[in-house]
Point group: C2
Chain length 471, copies 2
Amino acid sequence: MTSLEYIFHPRSIALVGASDNAFNPATIMFLEPLKKFGYTGDIFPVNPNASTVSGLTAYPTVRDIPGPVDHVICAIPASSTRQLLEDCIAKGVKVFHMYTSGFSEIGVHDMGRLQDELVQIARKGGIRIIGPNCMGLYYPKLGISFCPTFPEESGSVGLIAQSGSYSLLVTIGAASRGVRFSKVVSYGNASDINECDLLEYLADDPETDIIAGYIEGTSDGHRLKKVLAEAAGKKPVILVKKGGTAAGTRGASSHTGALAGDDKVWDALIRQSGAIRVPDLEQMIDLLVTFQFMPLPQGKDAVVIGIGGGPSVRAADDCERGGLKLPPIPEDMVAELRRYAPTAGSMLRNPVDVGKMHIDWDPVIKTFTDWGQTDMFIWQIAPDIEPFEENSFIRQFCIDQRARFLQEFIKSGKPLAVAVHTAESRFALSILDITRNECVKHKVPFYTSVYSAARAISQFIDWNRRHSGLP
Amino acid sequence: MTSLEYIFHPRSIALVGASDNAFNPATIMFLEPLKKFGYTGDIFPVNPNASTVSGLTAYPTVRDIPGPVDHVICAIPASSTRQLLEDCIAKGVKVFHMYTSGFSEIGVHDMGRLQDELVQIARKGGIRIIGPNCMGLYYPKLGISFCPTFPEESGSVGLIAQSGSYSLLVTIGAASRGVRFSKVVSYGNASDINECDLLEYLADDPETDIIAGYIEGTSDGHRLKKVLAEAAGKKPVILVKKGGTAAGTRGASSHTGALAGDDKVWDALIRQSGAIRVPDLEQMIDLLVTFQFMPLPQGKDAVVIGIGGGPSVRAADDCERGGLKLPPIPEDMVAELRRYAPTAGSMLRNPVDVGKMHIDWDPVIKTFTDWGQTDMFIWQIAPDIEPFEENSFIRQFCIDQRARFLQEFIKSGKPLAVAVHTAESRFALSILDITRNECVKHKVPFYTSVYSAARAISQFIDWNRRHSGLP
């Protein structure tokens, strides 16, 4: 098996089915991003009914394109794909990415057979198929993207996703919290290039430090087991395997035609490989954020700094449920904190609730960070309990205080995570967004709850303990 | 025990400790809301160092106020509260709401003793204490509020919360999804008026149809058991009991001085009473939304309409995990749908994924709603997979389509819920907010995930089955 490296380095890309229609997916999701992300190869729209698309010269067929074409994105109806594939082989195309859906996943026999035929044609013609029924490649380093709002910067997370939606949801969600990607491959029905090929590739990819995968099924459990174990021996591998319940299995089959299989078998396979299985994308994003931004804590003792009594009680429960411990703060530290935080409304145990945002934070933060007996700090913000929406002076004051608090804490160098305690109101959602951006700026891990923070950080510590012998 | 009705009908309210300082909580959280919400009684700021507060005449002490004072909000340091309470008794005040904290909850013996002394003084003087360490009353019908951003309209949910933060979080969170409240009482340390008094009152309150409670502990388990069973026999009662883990118990004690007790005992007590226990406020809000807005489905069969293959697979899992069933859609209905929805990218099973937003929805919706074999529809939106942020034309088109879809569906009269499949990006958060407001406008239950929708709706159906003999 040749390395898949070359699929990420096309000298030119043709978009078959692109048009100037406002809803044309090939134009919105592929062509425009190539331009926006600064792809330096040639971009060739292919459309027999247009002379230009998005200002670029369009060609009636792939064969009419002057010069070499390495990569073709197929966004035409399934019934026309065989002819197109044959054209591509004649043209010397190397990768045939089928955005087109309506093959094995729809459960109609003829279309499943057509998919099989396409694979046979491709194998004979020496061309690789990505898909069908998928979004293809996001490789920001080369300016290749399948979404206009993905980050243009590169990072070190490699993601493969059988679901196009999940490739978008994980990338957009993790990117919102600062995670950046080396490569993302949405591989759909896996008719040719499959999860095993891609995991094998990412395991050896020097641009990828962390591997994430959303899988609905496999056609080769033995190879997957071997490949997963190899990948997980080299890098953290975080997996979502979907289609567990009866309805989910039916859904997965309907979605990518995958053989979903028995969930317990999958669970054992993933656990034995050393990969981390998470139930869904939120936890995948939490772990990506953690592996990317959290300095490794020495142990599981945390101090939670929060505002509000009820949320602090909850934070205690949530930390323990998530696998962390909250050691009580010693009396001399309580006495020290009490000098700066007013008694009323403050709970100076652990979680620590200093009662209000508008205190002098400098000595308080210093007291925290000077204390050597904790492994990490979790700062909980709860914007819905500071509902001063209508007072713009107070709102700005709180936003500024939070930003300063974060910066002062970062200076100390202690492992720090920020977690939001529920954000429901429009006001709270805006504070969530502002605080998140502040965390992204300072490379601080950000979570949507203390529980998810505690769970991810605890898994992260466990993983490091298990893999401490890793290169 | 006299009914607590009178505590909600003060002819006048004095705010002790209010000032014109921008951060003064008495002014921000109590005085300004009274003005904004149109409280028609007299409002008397009390501050020996100011002649006016927020434009109203201020008085040096409660005794100096001309005319009767029914309700006093105490927002001065704990050490001065005894004198104030004595002044209030002399003045004939009926309710003494202690926003002031720093009593039994801080674990300092002297302050716990002071709290006990205040209660003894109050009992002798014929005055009731709410708190200390709490937000007091929200009674929108009379224009009484402890938060400027609460709704001014009244509703039928009565909420009691031992935590001031939770009283804000639940009210703001549920209000964001359209829930309106009859009365909210944040009762803090429960030194005098406690959870039993309040549950007893709400059980008989004709303005309250649904009762919600956040409790950290009780001083009278036997009475609570009796009161809860009575209340739950009359109305749905939804409870959060916090302080379960060791750290949580420590936190709860530190928070309101509550005796948190063994979680299993609490679990049995609540279950036997017929109330619904939920682990936290998100599920409480989900249930309030459901009891308020969801028409009772005849059974647990749901059709999920979604966009995106991966999210649809997940929706199937999540519905089953949450307690609903997804019956397969019959072949003739699939054939009918296929006439209007393009084959490519559509999964016409259940969940139904029609592939794109820009189809002709009218016949599709009619096909759904004409089908008699489902008990409800759950419409899943996933704004992060329609990331056309940069194309304002498409964005507006999708927003308009979603609004129309909702309206067309509502016309059919079938039970409908709307659920968001993860909203992480700033763009998705804004779509969440827009869709939520559309749901609020049309009184459609809105959830932040299919799982939480399924869980709440399933609990709602179970509750109705158990209580079908209710008056």
